[in-house]
Each structure stands twice: as C-alpha cells, then as structure tokens.
Amino acid sequence: MNARLTLWVALLAGCGSTPTPGSDGGAGSRLVVLLEAEATAGEGIAAGEGPEDIQDGWSVAFDDYVVVIGGVDVRLAQDASQAATAGERFAVDLVDVPEAGLPLWSIAGLTPGRWELGYALGRAATDGAVADASVSDAQLAEMVEGDWTYLIAGALSRADGASCPPASRATPGDAIPNGDTNAAGDPCYDNPVVAFRWGLTAPTALGPCEVDDTPGFAVTAGASTSVALTIHGDHLFFNGFPEGGEGGVRRLAQWLADGDLNVDGEVTREELEALVPADLVEFDPRFQLGGTPVTPLASLWDYVTAQVKTQGHFQGEGECALSAAP
C-alpha cells in the first residue's frame, strides 16, 4: 500500500462514520478475474521513433510468451479480515490470449464495497501450474523441469543489424567484422536476426494494485464485477525500471544484440550470465537501473529477470506494488 493510500484508509477508518459496506449481506456478489496480455506480446514491437517503438532500429516478434500466473488474493479495504483467494496458477501463452482477455479466476460471495487485489507470478513446478489450452504439454513439461515463471522465445530483426559484443568478452570465432565499431571501439558483426529462447524463474508477488490512485475494485450487491490482470510484454526493452507511468521510458534493443558474444544469431542465457550491464557500452546514462527489484544486478541475466518481474499490471496500465516474493 502506498503512502497516500495508507493515509486515505487511515482517515476513513478514523472518521468511523462510513457505513460498513455489505451490511446487507451481499449474497451473490461475484468477481471474475481475466488475464489480459498487452498487444506487444502477440504483435511484437516495431522499430521506429514513436514512444511505443523500439528506438534504435530493431523490431522484435515473440513466438512464445508463456507466463505462470495466479494466486489472486482480495481483501476488503476497510476490513482486511475479510479476504478471499483464487489460488490456481495457470501457464498461459500471452501470444494467444484474446484481445478481450481470458477469464481464468472467479471468486463468489464477496461483500459489497471496495476490495484490494493482489496476485502472483509463480513457478511452474513449485506452484503446480496448470496449462491453459495455449500451452502445449511439451512446453509445460519444460517449464516444470526448470521451475520457470516465463518461457519467452522470439527474435530481434533489423535489416542492417549488427552485434558489437565487448571485445574483451567476445568469442566470434571465424566471424568477420563488418568494419564498424561501437562507441567503445568494439568491432561489429553483421547480425540481422538475433533469436532468443529463455526460461526465466522470476516469482513475484504483486499488490495491492491500483488504477490512477484508486485501489482495487468495487463490488456492488448481487452484481458480477470483472477485472483484468494485465501482463506487459515490452519491459525487456525498457531503459529503466519505472514504477509509475511508463510514458517516459525508451525501448532499446541494441544491448541485447550485443549480448550475442559468439555472433551466431542467438543470444543465450549463458551469454547473458557471462556479462554484467557495465560491460556493454549501450548501458550508458540513457539507462537508469536504480529501481531494479533484484539487487545486485550481477549479470545481464539478472537484468532480464528483474525486468520481467515488473511486467505485472492491473486493468491495463494500473500499477501493482511489488512485495516480498512468494
């Protein structure tokens, strides 16, 4: 709960004149929780100069964007002892989530009033994730084997794309530099498509969630209320860890292309584990990493993990505080 919310609740509680919502019993009030995927997961992100584009010439498309999500927890704002949970964890491929969302959880019998909401990005094995129809048996087995939170596969593309791995760490083998260098003087190699396929363990507890400083959701007597857990797909390319509006961030991808140390057209977990952000000249002052939920950021793999932990939102762009990992 943020400071403003703490104060607001304290003021309401202190006044003591607000009628207790739901004193009529509220039988039949129901919450339906949908999973919603930001369009970036299914449509990818284009190269361009626009605020939603990747601004250094690369575009990205995702083949798989599977996430383990669930553990929806709701609490009545004015009486936290009134709580309910939809604990199921589902493995869902965000690439295939319909635009209208996927109804996955339901909680009945809620007392009318305003409720706070939290949820979790879980681990496939530890949390016993159940595969949605969008996830194959093979994908689920792989995720369970690794106890992953995410399975993300895709590729960066740029017609004149190149990887410029730091010379002191690069292993280009017989690859021939294209004659260009980056700002650090590292040789560049033509690399127009850079693929990736990663299993990431990044469990995260999210909540309470709010939209424009309004916490959670409201339930009225006898009615059904729908809310959406929204997973963004573009934080991998953010140049920082904004915790409020994302309007100021830039999306950049050259750093990831430079992580392809052997310039074979795929950037792997092992390559990202061999690098720290400071090894890449791309991590210049355009990047501000002070808000990372993972400290220390001891490798680029940690950096990727930290970014995907922040992708959980509420009702589109609503924010959810990151609390202690479940």
């Binding site: 709960m1 915790e243 509006g245 002070g290 400290t295 220390p296 990151l322 990992a325």
Partner: protein, 287 residues
Amino acid sequence: MSRATWIVGLLSLATGCVDTSIQATSVDLSVAGTDARAPFEGRRGATITLSRADVAFGPVYLCAGYTAGELCDEALAEWRDAAVVDALSAAPTSLGAMVALTGTAHSYMFDYGIVSLLTSDAPLVTAAAESLGPASAVVEGVADVEGQSIPFTVRVRVEQSADVEQGVPVVRSGEDDGFEHPIAPDGGSRLLVRFDPRAWLAMADFAALVEDATCAPGLDVACAGPIEQRCAADGSVAETRDCAALGGACVRDLGCVERLELGSDDQVGRALRIGLEAGARPELVFE
C-alpha cells in the same frame, strides 16, 4: 511542499476524525562507510586497493508502501539535504533529523546528490555533489592486474534520466531488501546508512585495461604488458618504453599513464555508476 509536510498538513486539517495514533516525529539520521582500505579481490583476477571513496548521499525518503518511487507520493520520513560521505571511514557521522511520521516504513529511496525535478529538465546538483566535481561519487585507488599496478581515479554522476522517470529518486529499495521498520514517536528512532565501496566496484573490469599485444597496421600504440610500443604507420614498433619504470602502467589504447582518469564512458565508470544504482545496497540499520 515536501512529501512528509504534505501529510502533516493534511493531518492537521483532518484532526476531527483521524486516527490520533499517527504522530509527527523525527528520525536521527547518520551515515558511515566501511574500513575497506585493505586490498580486495575484484573481477577477473584484479586486486583493488582503495584510497578514496567519497559519495554524495541524499536526499533520502522512507515510504509506507512496499514500493518506493512514484508510488511513494508522500514519504513517511525524509531528509532533503545531501552530504559527502567518506565511505572508507567506519565511524558514523550524524546528518541530523529526518522529518517523519509514526508508522511502519516498508521501502526507501534516495539520490546521490543529484536530484531529478519534475519542474525542470535540468537536475538539481546539490552542494555535496558540486564539491565532488560535480559528481555523485569519486573513487581512487590502485588496481593490480596482470602484473601491473594501475593508479586510478573514477568520477561519475548518478542521476535520474528524463527518459526513464523524471522526478523520482535514483535508488529505490526492491522486494529483496526486506525493509520493514517502525518509526517511533518522540524522535525515538535512529537510522544508520552504512556504505561499502567494495560493492560499488564489483562489476569493474580492470583486466580489460591491460593487454599483451604488439603493434599492427592501424594502431598508434600497443601494450606488451607494461611496455608501451609506439607504432609506425606500417605496423612496426617505432619506439618502446617501460611504463612501470616511469611509475605508471601501460593501458590499452593509451600507453603509459601515471594515473588513469575514468568516467561514465569507460567500463569501470559504468560499473561504478551501475554499482551505485543497482549493486549491493548500503546497509540500513534501524534502531
């Protein structure tokens, strides 16, 4: 109006119905470093000996919510000044009192002397940061790597980018910090922030500064260990000198240097900046 003052004002207006258990109070704030002048192991076989590690610290805020940053619109406690901390001195130094409210703090955020403002594209550079260059941190020492001793000074600014989240402090606690501390009434709480400068340089790659190379076409200078080779146009060695004998080191692309001056454009400078932003956090001891 400051974050905490805003809350105090609101409480004053709402005293007719507010929970009177929330009280204005203060937190005694002090800072300290770590006695880290002994050599320590750095990345890729380097041994680092520090002789100076000054950092501009502040402003600092404690927040009620689990997530600091923009979600901490109003702080539970704040110190809006900044001071230079000698991070090699383990002795605590008092910075004064944080304006505070009673309650439980679950997160924190702070700057390194350079403050991003919502009202201006240019950041506010505090007197503490001005005194360092301006910079947020200045670290000096010697890196021993591959048989060479490289005296170095690295100076960096750590500031919030307008491209990320203008107006928000650069360092915010994360879920891993497990920060949860009650703030006592009547000034009964103390906060000590202890820095360890060794952690700032955990990602610094001093080994990349040296090489065992020889002249080649297109090169002006090469280092064969401590031996500087000035290269002729045809790639042959035009002249050599022993940097170690001159009291310095032979550094890749530079040749002999007595002291290496590094900044944010260098790997070591990036490592220091990112280490301050996203490396191991300072220890926050609450009493």
